[in-house]
Symmetry: C2
Subunit: 336 residues, 2 copies
């Protein structure tokens, strides 16, 4: 099924069930007022939402027009947002760009940072930027929402705790990262509010594209209206999303509604190289940091600047028939 | 006023107003069902809670006996938990212990990590430990809860956004820290679920002890029943809590109910040295890592081991007349 949260002026919005083609919705707040409330009691609530979804699909309940621009992030605020870094090509490029080594441990122990989850941006909201020198970047990613996950869960069991899948633009402030990482405590100011796709879907909605807890489809990223990234989320993932959930739960429980991200989707070239821009026939990049590194390797310096007020990014994913699965994240950078 | 959250079997518990001497409570769920709900609408709700607090103090409403053991952490789960490291003595000792430098930036730019907030431990709950080799440690700290804080807030204005104050035991897994920090993304598995004091109080409850957004009172830490730490939270704080809130909000808003911690409370000796154990007439330590470093400096090796199943910690703070302000965090380590 497909779920969304409409902005009704409250902090947590209103839960709705969305049609498969994401053109229509039916309010679900008589089943659960918010998505968090649904996740808090998922085993009881999900069957009722599934029944409503069938009614929406069969058009046996009154529906209204679904406008992606009226949607919040599925969880407008969450109790947990942890972002992995599953795509080694991204890690290698970004680290190369800041002169840092890829830790050996990365190849068997996922990188993951704890993100801020108290104030997500809606999928069509502006990205407020305090200072262009902060080096604003997008990161196109896949994220999952879990139910209650017990401490010490295995990756195999973690897969069953993945209840919903969505996309995320993990906004990053590249100019603040080196200073923060040098302090040793990881990202904080360099990871401001992220935005999630208008629609979250159950894994079964992805059909054959959901395999071994990754989505085997291209993630589309457009930058200022031009194709920028077409990397396949099912390729070059060193860790799948179930492994990332298990990593997050190694020393603690995860509460219902925990969001775990894949990290920036990134593919190597067919020849094993770091990948060409879309304009040169490659699969491109899901963030600007990668193309800057490619430029630095090719020309000795980065030409593409980071995002500034007026720049725009669009992130979405189509199914094998070309239909948008999650709706689109579309954001403009504005001066804060 | 003083507030607590009683465990009523729900995820977020039931909001109650507690008497100043923390012996009695009156349910406040007719005003706001949960503390988060109160914080979501603080300007409207707080005056009603204050009125009820006056009634509780004047014994003009029926009250019930308040048992600290029945309390959740004031926010059993929260949308934001960020922990600073305001006490330089702690940072210098812990870094010395792992052979790391104190970054120069620390003296003007706070260290802060993003903690997990989806599954806090109640103040009397056991600390589940998967493996003694993880090096389980307590960290006694002060924490504040804010209302909505706008991105870019000044430290001066941030002070006004501090609505509640409480204590925290920020459980740390020292054995996992070096590996995680080497990966560059900061703490994650090394910071499992923390526990907060049974009672959260408005800053005015602290009277003259609340000065310039720090508490000028000793934080008491007992370990296995013996005095372990008596460091004063108002001494040697390089940053106050308002500065830490402003740091957290530099590039993003903080949502109502955000929790910001002080980091481990730690005092230097009167002579500027790193501080003696309580048993030797010093103010002791709010975590085990510090005494281990003192031992290493004195004897070439740490004698005090980290916590193992059966070990217990108690964290509390008395007012100038010896009355417990927040109730006590009392936890035993158990095998997970």
């Amino acid at each position: 099924m497909k779920l969304a949260t409409l902005n009704d002026g409250t902090r947590d919005g209103k839960l709705v069930v969305v049609s498969k083609d994401i053109t229509r919705y039916c309010a679900a707040d008589n089943i659960a007022p918010t998505l968090q409330a649904a996740l808090d009691n998922w085993d009881q609530v999900a069957p009722k939402l599934e029944a409503l979804y069938r009614d929406v699909e069969h058009q046996t309940v009154p529906c209204e027009r679904f406008h992606e621009r009226e949607a919040h992030s599925p969880l407008p605020r969450a109790y947990q947002w942890a972002d992995g870094s599953a795509y080694i090509n991204h890690v290698e490029l970004v680290r190369k760009a800041r002169g840092a080594e890829v830790p050996e441990s990365f190849y068997h122990d996922p990188l993951m940072y704890q993100g801020g989850s108290d104030d997500f941006l809606p999928p069509r909201a502006d990205i407020p930027l305090g200072d262009t020198a902060w080096g604003c970047d997008m990161e196109g990613e896949v994220a999952v929402i879990t139910d209650d996950v017990p401490m010490g869960v295995s990756a195999q069991d973690a897969a069953g705790h993945i209840k919903l899948v969505m996309l995320v633009n993990d906004v990053s402030l590249r100019g603040l990262i080196p200073g923060e990482l040098a302090k040793g405590f990881g990202f904080f100011q360099s990871k401001p509010a992220s935005a999630f796709s208008p629609v979250a879907v159950t894994p079964d909605e992805l059909g054959d594209a959901w395999q071994d807890s990754v989505i085997k489809l291209p993630l589309n990223v457009d930058y200022n209206g031009a194709p920028f990234g077409r990397a396949n989320a099912g390729v070059d993932a060193t860790f799948n999303l179930a492994q990332l959930v298990a990593h997050a739960a190694k020393t603690r429980n995860l509460g219902a509604g925990a969001i775990i991200g894949s990290g920036t989707v990134s593919n190597q070239d067919a020849d094993g190289g770091p990948g060409k821009p879309v304009s040169e026939g490659g699969l491109g990049y899901s963030c600007i940091a990668e193309i800057r590194m490619i430029e630095t390797i090719a020309d000795g310096e980065a030409k593409t600047r980071f995002m500034a007020p007026g720049d725009s990014v669009k992130v979405w994913m189509d199914d094998s028939e070309g239909h948008s699965i999650f709706g689109a994240i579309e954001q403009n950078v504005v001066q804060a």
